[in-house]
Structure formats: C-alpha cells, structure tokens
C-alpha cells in the first residue's frame, strides 16, 4: 500500500499515481469520482491509497458520517416494527434501514425473533443506493447461516468514529500484529472474558456479563479513538484500567 501527499477536494489524481492494471479497468473506492474519458477527481481532502493487486484506489477521509455500502457489518438499533419489516437506525437523523422480519437464521412465520424498539442487531448491509432505502439482513442469504449475525442481548453500546471502527475491523497480518494499530481488544481479552461486535457505522457493542468489565472495554475503545493512543500508550492505559479489577 503506497501513501502519497494530501489531496484537496476537486484535485485530479496524477496519472502517474494510478495503480497499473492488466485488464485496463480501475476500481474506484470512496471519495473519488470519474469524469469521462479518463479524469479521476477527489471529492474530499485525504490521502490517496492504492492496492496494485486489485487495481483499486481510494481516499481515506479522517472524519464524517457513515455512508452504507453493500457488505458492511453494522450494529443497528430497532426503532419500530411494521407488518413484515423492522425499521432500524444506523446513524442518527438519517432515514431508517429496513430489516425483514424473516431475515434471520432459521426464521419462519412461527419462529422469528420478537424484537422490541430499542433492541440491537448485528447485521450486514444488503442493498445500499442513493435512490432507495437501505436494506440490512441478519443471515447469509445464500447459505441461510447466521455467520455471527443476529440480535444482540445484554451488554452496552459505545459510539466511536467510523474511521476507528474500520481500524478495529482490519484484523491482523501474518505475524499476528494488528493492521489497524489497535491492540485493546486482544490485550484486554487475555485478562477478561467478553464478547464484542464492531459496526462500521461507528457503534461497538460489548458484553462481558459484568458491568465494570464491559465499561472498561468500552471506555478504553472510546479513549483510544478520541485521544489517538499509540500501541504503547494503549498498553499503558490497559494496565492502569485493569489493575484495580484483580
């Protein structure tokens, strides 16, 4: 992954920075637009990232509202239900996403989860388009399996920035180091047992059966997001937070 200098909105990506392609097609990620025939412009300020293997390029913007895109995992809150769908909030003050009442693992008319307003679900974005409502689902529609999705019971939700949620979901590289530079979940997980669901919409759900431990995890994540701790600082904060618990 190559990083270049910061671009301002409306600037053209220099042709020399475009990744090489075999098929002659490029994949444009977030915050880029294509003006035919061959101009690629930025739509916000950020740093350009390219993936030569996939011939993809995108702009990483530091802040901003979550925009749903197909395949994203989100933590959604049920707002209200209607005859065959639930209306769920992904981000505040935006139109509700639709979740089918039968879009759960093994659900049929008799055995479907009864969700109240305020309940949480971990879901995947099924369709996202600027012209119609966003649809989400809690199972893999090709296999019918839940794949870890479904209603979230107990626990607490913490708000983080969408960019930090992306870092949390980056996973680890071959040597087991976190690609996103966040070690909170792994390091706390060695001492305390807890479940976690990270939503790309800037929400993270934590449950450890005990309120104190849940709060420690949530507040460490929020602190790491707001204060931008490095890996060393994260380890130090984890140490100070966990000491009184043992």
């Amino acid at each position: 992954m190559a990083t270049t200098s910061v671009l301002l909105p409306g600037e053209q990506i220099p042709p020399s920075d475009l990744p090489p392609t075999k098929k002659g097609t490029l994949t444009l990620g977030p915050n880029l637009r294509h003006l035919p025939p061959s101009t690629i412009l930025t739509t916000t300020s950020g740093s350009l990232h390219t993936d030569p293997k996939k011939a993809a390029l995108w702009i990483d913007a530091p802040h901003g509202r979550y925009q749903p895109s197909v395949g994203d995992l989100v933590v959604a809150q049920i707002h209200h239900g209607s005859t065959d769908t639930y209306h769920c909030a992904l981000t505040p003050h935006t139109a509700y996403a639709l979740l089918g009442q039968l879009a759960f693992e093994g659900a049929n008319k008799k055995t479907r989860p009864k969700l109240e307003s305020g309940d949480l679900v971990y879901a995947r974005v099924k369709t996202a388009s600027k012209w119609e409502d966003v649809e989400i689902e809690c199972f893999n529609s090709s296999t019918g399996k839940a794949d870890g999705l479904g209603p979230l019971k107990g626990g607490m939700v913490f708000n983080i920035s969408p960019a930090f949620a992306r870092r949390l979901m980056m996973g680890t590289d071959k040597e087991g180091r976190s690609k996103g530079g966040v070690v909170v979940l792994e390091e706390v997980g060695e001492k305390v047992k807890f479940e976690v669901a990270v939503g790309r919409n800037g929400r993270v759900w934590v449950d450890s059966g005990n309120v104190a431990a849940t709060l420690v995890v949530g507040r460490l994540l929020m602190g790491c997001d707001e204060k931008g701790w490095s890996v060393e600082e994260q380890r130090r904060e984890i140490e100070t937070c966990l000491r009184p618990m043992f």
Binding site: L8, T43, D60, R65, S178, G228, S230
Partner: protein
C-alpha cells in the same frame, strides 16, 4: 497574517471547523447527509440549509440574507446530485467580533461573509461531504486608490469600499459581494488581488516549489492546504507508528 483554521473542534458533529481572522472568529458545524423534512425535500439533489448565529442575540433579516448568500455559494460547490432527497446542514456561530464603534452594518456584514464562507467550506471538508472543488473567500478593502487584503478593524473603519470574493481552485468566481462606493477599476483591482491570494492559499508547494512566482502570488504560505493537510496527517498518524 493568514487566517488560522482548526478542524474538528466539536467531536459530536460530523464535521466542524474554527476560522479566525483579525476581525472575526467563527465556529462552523456541518452535518450530512441527513433526513430532510418533506417540505424542503428535492427529488434529484440534496437540500442545503445554512444557519447563521450572531455573536449575541438572535438573528434577524441580515442573518437571513447572509444565509441565502452562503447557501447559494455552497450549492455551487457541494456535489448535490450525489445525495438526492437528503439535507446537508451547516451551522455557523460567530464567537468573536470586533467592537464595532462607528462601523457601518453593511461593511461589517460583507466582512463577516468572507469568514462565514471559509468556515463553512472547512466544516464541509471535515464532514467528508462530496465537494466539486476547493475555494477560498478573500476579503479586501479599497481605500484612496490602494488595496488592502485581510484588513483589520482600523483599515475597515476608514475604507471606501469592502469586497468579499470567493474564488474556486480553477480560477472561477463563485461569489462577489461588495459594500461602499467604488468604480469598476477599483473592483477589478481588489478582485484580481484576491484571486492571486486565493490561488496562493491552495497552491501545492511540492509541485512548483522552485518556480519563480510572479510577484503577487507565492509570498504567503498556502494556509488552506496546510490546515487541511495537517488534519489528514493527524488522523493517519497510526499508520506510521502501528
């Protein structure tokens, strides 16, 4: 002295910015795309709502007029077709204004417009709203045949006319508001000077650092590019350390 720009002072808003000049300090918050009320909904594009809050008291007709000017300025910049049937909301709060002894309200309002435009633009960039380009709103006064850009309170008090002009990155004029008595030559002098300054604020030092600048451009550092770049670098700092 170039204006100072701080990005993301408010962490609950999608995007925010503080813009400080010798005259005004403005705090801007941008949110969007949001759900729009049925009355304001546009089927093909995003509606833009601008709220201007004065330093003290509640807004009146002058603030409504400024909201209108800033709305049409932002409409030419935001890619409204990317967010149909939504709302992009910008709130601009004046937090510091000069003690306006003997200053005409019309002059003050035009001077304020420049700050409002820059603050609103920076907040939209911070909010990640899709924009068609970059712009800078410059403020200049004409005073007995000479041009003063970035005027302080003293220059504003004795001026013949005051001009706020918004220039886009490709040299297009997006807004021009003036107050006072002036002729075409004076206006052209101020607008040309502000254009040079606007291009200087967003120029890329890395590309043409060694070039000899043509007098008016290039004396100042590109303050807008630096402020926006700093915010991006801060947010990407984890890549280097991690």
């Amino acid at each position: 002295m170039p204006p100072t720009l701080t990005l993301h002072p408010l962490h609950r808003a999608d995007g925010s910015a503080t813009h400080t000049t010798p005259l005004f300090t403005i705090l801007a918050a941008a949110n969007g795309p949001l759900e729009v009320s049925r009355r304001d909904e546009l089927p093909e594009e995003a509606a833009i709502e601008v709220n201007v809050r004065p330093c003290s008291g509640v807004g009146g007709p002058r603030e409504r007029w400024m909201e209108g000017v800033i709305t049409s300025l932002l409409k030419s910049l935001v890619l409204v077709n990317m967010y149909p049937r939504t709302l992009v909301q910008v709130t601009l709060q004046v937090t510091k204004e000069p003690g306006m002894g003997g200053l005409k309200r019309a002059v003050k309002d035009v001077a304020l417009l420049a700050g409002l435009g820059n603050a609103a633009f920076a907040a939209l960039v911070d909010a990640g709203v899709a924009l068609g380009g970059t712009m800078v709103v410059g403020l200049g006064v004409a005073r007995e045949g000479e041009v003063v850009v970035e005027p302080g309170e003293k220059e504003l008090l004795g001026c013949g006319s005051v001009h706020a002009v918004a220039w886009g990155m490709r040299g297009e004029m997006l807004m021009a508001e003036s107050a006072g008595r002036f002729g075409v030559e004076e206006w052209e002098g101020v607008a040309g000077r502000l254009r040079g300054d606007a291009m200087g604020a967003i120029k890329n030092d890395e590309e043409d650092g060694d070039d000899v600048m043509d007098g008016e451009v290039g004396q100042k550092e590109p303050w807008l590019r630096q402020a926006l770049g700093e915010s991006v670098r801060d947010a990407g700092a984890w890549r280097e350390t991690g």
